[in-house]
């Protein structure tokens, strides 16, 4: 079972939902927000094993290079530039695809592994923990997310905490999920961005439900939309200054009895929905 948690808008509570729900369900937690990973703050994983994530980056053998320009024309990411005297590599534009070295007729291009971030594997109180962290001033989160994905053992139940937005990196997180949880907040922005995220998940043909964070108990904006779109509301996390304080201290909200009950309710609904989704696929 794989559950993806996403939101469209940043800061709506993806990590709050992912960490607390993983804890409530006792399943693995995977943090795909490698630009600003925060799951570790709340789950406090132990025995973290750190490893490098590299991408293969070209090196030009200037003695062999004839300046034929084929590599420059092949590269789709403008990472190679012909100065007339040599070929320059702009490493931070390189996607590590290897097309240039495949195309070079002189075999003048080799590759070396360039570190773009790190990956963490460990355990938290209930199950396993996976996350990654992109190095500063690196542009590409994608390869780190892909590498974390490869490390998750097949068949393990897990919750994926996606990055904000609806970009290709979010697609990587949602891809292969049995169920998606959309976290939103009852505001015009929350709704606007929720719709975008729903569009993405619908296109990927994955069943989903909604959690309203910072709920005012009755949230017509989101509830009317959910009803019209035939989406189930899995639960509402009420707005409270006390909850905000617990969050600010890096603690799980589930430590509060009232909130624990809410997450138990969400867990039950999610399990029903996932069962339903798996038996119908």
């Amino acid at each position: 079972m794989k559950i993806a948690v996403l939101s469209g808008k940043g800061g709506t509570g993806k990590t709050t939902v992912s960490t607390n729900l993983a804890y409530a369900m006792g399943i693995d937690y995977v943090d795909f927000d490698v630009e600003e990973p925060n799951g570790h703050i709340f789950l406090k994983p132990r025995d973290l094993k750190e490893s490098d994530v590299n991408i293969m980056t070209p090196v030009i053998d200037q003695d062999r290079c004839t300046l034929c320009n084929i590599c420059v024309e092949t590269c789709q990411f403008n990472a190679l530039v012909n100065t007339g005297k040599r070929i320059l590599v702009f490493e931070d534009l390189c996607h590590g695809c290897g097309a240039c070295s495949l195309a070079c007729p002189e075999k003048a291009i080799s590759e070396y592994p360039r570190k773009i971030g790190v990956l963490f594997e460990g355990t938290y109180e209930k199950a396993d923990f996976f996350s990654g962290r992109m190095a500063l001033n690196e542009p590409m989160a994608g390869p780190i997310i892909s590498e974390i994905k490869r490390r998750i053992p097949k068949g393990r139940d897990h919750i994926v905490d996606c990055s904000p937005g609806t970009s290709c990196n979010v697609v990587k997180g949602v891809d292969g999920a049995d169920y998606a949880i959309m976290v939103t907040e009852p505001s015009v922005f929350g709704l606007h961005d929720l719709k975008l995220a729903v569009e993405l998940v619908e296109e990927m043909d994955i069943p989903m439900g909604i959690i309203i964070n910072r709920s005012n108990e009755y949230d017509p904006l989101i509830e009317d939309y959910a009803k019209d779109s035939n989406l189930r509301i899995l639960g509402k996390i009420p707005f409270s200054k006390a909850a905000a304080k617990i969050y600010s201290e890096g603690k799980l909200l589930i430590e509060e009895p009232a909130i624990k009950e809410i997450f138990e309710g969400i867990k039950k609904q999610v399990l029903e929905e996932v069962d339903h989704a798996i038996s119908h696929s």
Binding site: G11, I41, C97, N137, G165, E203, E249
Partner: protein, 290 residues
């Protein structure tokens, strides 16, 4: 001159700040919304779209099933697991394809081509106060946000009198490619953070990126009274980095109301957070000398 509002972590209050600045400055500024995944700034203002242009941010490989000889070389070289064996020929898994060209380079049958993908649209909006807002929609799941951000920033710089005006940029969350595109060549930045462990960790990372890009940065702590001890820690960190804290915004229920009604916070008369934002706006203007 350009001013970018950043946060690292999403939802710390970037758009609250930017929309208030936008309201306070009116025609004197040009606005750019660089959160192209989930652009929100336009929702706060009435305006009309005066220009829309399609945008292509990436290419995708397409395999011609008639020409494919099923040799499998494309699959062997693809580093993004984007090629699978189909019924008749190999085929591209569109959402994994980065359009890198490696498969086309090795295909002996010339059966692969790259095609531009529709990734989104660029939009120029004129707001009710006659100022411009340059923004975009990246289609859900599409690639190329960094390039799209460069394009909408370029469009803002090409507006009439753009060089004499202040350009206010609502940055995107995170620290990766879209953020780098939002801050390249920008003189001034405000980093909005909140006194939470997540907010503080994310703030340190975005600050390092802003510094690397030589953006003169200032800090605003939002909802500082939610956890005063954490706010003190953030201030302490700022002192150690010689970063000026321009303001501390108190927790204020009016912020929720303004989000709900999607109006800039500073239009509410009795908002303590709004009052602080007005002061922050005056401070940043005097820092920039405008």
């Amino acid at each position: 001159m350009q001013l970018v509002i950043l946060s690292g972590k999403g939802g710390t209050g970037k758009t609250t700040l930017v929309s208030s600045f936008a309201h306070l400055s009116g025609r004197d500024t040009i606005k750019v919304d660089c959160d192209v995944d989930a652009s929100n700034l336009h929702l706060m203002f009435e305006g009309r779209d005066v220009d829309k242009r399609p945008f292509s941010g990436s290419k995708k490989a397409i395999i011609d099933p008639e020409a494919c000889i099923n040799c499998g070389r494309c699959q062997a070289v693809c580093r993004f697991d984007a090629i699978e064996q189909g019924e008749k020929s190999y085929q591209v898994i569109e959402r994994s394809c980065e359009g890198c060209n490696a498969c086309r380079v090795v295909c002996p049958a010339d059966a692969i081509r790259l095609e531009e993908e529709d990734s989104g649209e660029m939009i120029m909006t004129i707001l009710k106060d006659d100022s411009y807002l340059s923004r975009a929609n990246l289609f859900p799941g599409a690639d190329g946000s960094g390039k799209l951000i460069s394009e909408i920033r370029k469009a803002s710089l090409e507006l009439e009198n753009a060089r004499e005006k202040l350009i206010i940029i609502d940055g995107s969350p995170g620290i990766g490619c879209p953020v780098m595109s939002s801050i390249t060549g920008v003189e001034y930045g405000i980093i909005v953070t909140e006194p939470t462990q997540s907010g503080f960790e994310d703030f340190k990372r975005i600050y390092e990126v802003a510094r690397h890009f030589r953006v003169k940065s200032y800090v605003v702590i939002n909802k500082f009274d939610l956890n005063p001890a954490m706010s003190d820690q953030i201030e302490e960190y700022c002192r150690s980095k010689e970063l000026k804290v321009l303001g501390k915004i108190p927790y204020d229920p009016v912020v929720n109301q303004s989000n709900f009604e999607s109006k800039p916070l500073v239009v509410y008369n009795e908002s303590i957070a709004g009052d602080e934002i007005k002061k922050i706006w005056d401070s940043i203007k005097s820092e920039m000398g405008v």
